[in-house]
Each structure stands twice: as C-alpha cells, then as structure tokens.
Symmetry: C2
Subunit: 265 residues, 2 copies
Amino acid sequence: VYCFDEETRATKSAGGQWHGVVSPEWNIGDNPNGGYLLSLISSALSQEIAHPDPISITTHYLRPGLQDTEYQINIDVIRVGRTLSNVRATLIQAGKPRLEVMAVYGDLSQSVGVENEIPMIAPVIPAEPLCCDRTGDLQGIELPIMNRLSVRLNPEQSVSGESTEPVISGWIRFTDGREPDARSLLLFCDAFPPSPFGYLGNVGWVPTVELTVHVRQRPAVGWILGQFTTNHLAGGRMIESGALWDSTGSLVAQSRQLGLILDKP
Amino acid sequence: VYCFDEETRATKSAGGQWHGVVSPEWNIGDNPNGGYLLSLISSALSQEIAHPDPISITTHYLRPGLQDTEYQINIDVIRVGRTLSNVRATLIQAGKPRLEVMAVYGDLSQSVGVENEIPMIAPVIPAEPLCCDRTGDLQGIELPIMNRLSVRLNPEQSVSGESTEPVISGWIRFTDGREPDARSLLLFCDAFPPSPFGYLGNVGWVPTVELTVHVRQRPAVGWILGQFTTNHLAGGRMIESGALWDSTGSLVAQSRQLGLILDKP
C-alpha cells in the first residue's frame, strides 16, 4: 500500500459519516497541506459516489487543519444523474468545519456529448523532468510533505523574487512509486510554492481561501508537469491559475484559486 | 429603478428564506439565462451578508430554471470572519433545487494583506466598443435577454465556425443605462455565446455544469470588455476560461466553467 492511499483513507461509521486521523506527514511547517486535506475528502467521495472521477471540485478553506487529530467528513449527495453526480462535503475537526467542498463527479473514460476536440494549451517549460528534488526545508520552515512528494522546480524560474514573471513550474510525483490518478491531481494542484514568490520573493503567508480544480483526463503513468501563474494581485488578494500535463504531454487538469498574501506574523 | 435590479430583487419571508418570481425577460429561448438565475441568488446574498462584494462564487447548475415561476432561496452562512464571509445558497423552484452556490464575500475597497501588485493579464481585442449590437435571434432561437443587454461581439471572430481559435470576445453593458457593479459581473461572465462556437460552429447545446467567478475589483462606469477561451474540449466536456476588463482597462473579474456540448435534440 502506498503512503498516499494509506494516509488519506477515510472509513465509514455506522452513522454514515466518514472519519480518520490527519497525518502529520503531509505538513508544511505545523500545518497539514491543503491539497492533502482535500484528499481526505476525495477518498471518502470516491467510496461514496458511483461516478469514479472528480471533474470539477471547489474547496473553501475555512480554518487550518489539525495534525495528529481525528477528522469527520459529512457528505450530502445533491443530485445523481446518468452521467454526473453533484455532491457537497464538510471536513470537521474539534467540532469546527475546516473545509467545505462542492464537487461534480463523472466518468472520464466515457464520452457524454459532441465528439469534437480543440487544440489544448501547451506547457512552456522543459519536456523532461529536471534533476534536483526540492528539499524538505524552506527558509527555516520544515516541509515534511517533501518526503512524500518529489517536486523538481524549473531552475530558470525563482522562488525568491528574481523571476520576470509570477510563474512557478516543474515536475511532481509521489516518492514511493505510486502512479498518478485523477484523484491525486487534486493534491498536485496545491503542492507547488505560491507563484507570486518567483516575482516578489517570499513576501508573506499565502493562505488559500478557495481552490477549484477541473480534471480533464486520467493521467498516464509517470511524472506530472505543473505550471502556476498569478493573474492578479492587489489589496492582499491574489488569483492563481494552474495547469497539469501528464508524461505524454496531455493536459490533465486545470486549477484556479483565490489566495491572500498576509504579512508574516 | 433599472430592469436588472427590479427583475432580480429577492424578498425575505418571515421564515428567513428569500423569494420572488423568475422573469422571462432574461431568457435564451425558453430557458432563463444561467447568469440571470445566479443574479437572483446574488441579490439575496448582498442583502443577507455584511461584506458587500462577491469575490469568489461557484455555482452548480443542477436543473434548468422555470420562467414566470416562483423561486425560493435558502442561505446558509458558514463562517463570518473579519475580512471574509463564507456562505452557501440553494435556489429552488417547483420543489427541486436548481442552483447550488458556494461563495466568499469580502470588501474589495479594503486591503487585507501585502500591498504588492503584479502586472495583470491584458485583453487582446479592440480598445473601443464595436458598432453593432448582437441581435435578439440566434439561428431561430429567440434571445429576449438581448433586450436587456447590449453585446457587441468582435467582428474579427466568428460564432459560426470560421475562427482559427476557440475565442469569443466583445463589449457588454445594460441597455437601460444601469452602470456595472461587482454583482453585475457575475451576469456578464455568463452572457456571451459559448466560445467553442467560434472554432467549431454551433455544434450542439452547451449547458453549464459549474461556473466559478472571481471578482477582483469594482468596475468603473461604462462598457465591460469580455474575452472567453475554450481551454479543452473532449468527450463532450469543455473547460472555458474568461476575463472581464472595465472601461479603464482594469481586470475586474475572471471566470472558469465546466460545460457539456450535447447533440442537438
């Protein structure tokens, strides 16, 4: 069993809720990574819903998650159609909601309509994974998650303010050989450094307020290529757009998030 | 009183729900426009929530709306913070949920964090509104909404399949002189023709499954410039990204939606 599956496994209780314990192995500093917390919900949803793939999933991050602490997930299936299911879910720890999710699940192996294609957006970064993994330390903040994920950032970009554009890109995969699937793309959309850092440097703390991921295709085996761009930053609010491609060059997911950039405490 | 405010006004009942009647004046054919239905919810939310501006709003379209029919909106305020409120809302007609919304409200006139700026993405279409309004008829489908909105599409693009890229752009405003505000940007993000039509022609019916809008700034008076691009289309599923700029050239909103392209009935 791979770490990601083991450490995101939610179990159903007799009352119909899902539960488990938040692992500290996916932390950034003392806080569980937001993509990891979302993966606890996607684990429960993939067991609860007949349609296999998350195709649109919006997460509101209400409060930080608590490491080494029990969680409960409540699922509310809103509508089950022939090709799509709509669902809401809430992750609760210590009596308080932490994540609110609204998702559309479907089956990416099936066509549901007109069979045209449109040229997909192409990545602008090297076609091969780069040589050096990101380390488990960022300016004194420990990154345990870097024992679980290999992230190889594009060396032509910067995470400390020397880039000419607010873009972060690179390759990502699980360290233990688990291959990517549709569910893991949700995690990969929230596992790169904030894209404003390339342009501005590490100017502050960047909490995600809301993240929406669209999964387009189940990925091929191998590395996933990610590229994240800050579209707008003003008044401490930023919008970041991201895209993931698989090892065959296919666009497999897109993301957009609203984040804040707060002064360091 | 302007048509948009009059025809989206929701009234609170003693039980705490909001209600009103869906106007047929914003129809596309026999169906109320999705952006108009969302505006019924934004009317209720703007009265219910202390924070004035929608800054992230995700809508799941579960079923078509019903024209000339009563609606009810249930609001569930999830969290009220100092700078942000998180809220859920459901629009119900004839006993069935039609739209599910999850939103973050804030105050766009206030800074909440680090005061850096990043160069915004620029539009690639003419800087002046174009000469001709879109008409109230599309290949035999009546468009009553075109009596409420002026939409001037870029004549260098096509809505019938001759474009080299799946992009639709143009200028938009209310016909009765109402100026744009943050709330009206939600409507404007869902009032242009589907962007695949430029590249593929009118290949089918394009229902929106999910739409997320991020509002960045309250717009200046005048026309709003919109640009919408299909990022991906396969298996009958499409992802479209959009952006709106105001008359001063400021980026005021971004959108992304998951749509289906279904065979014509």
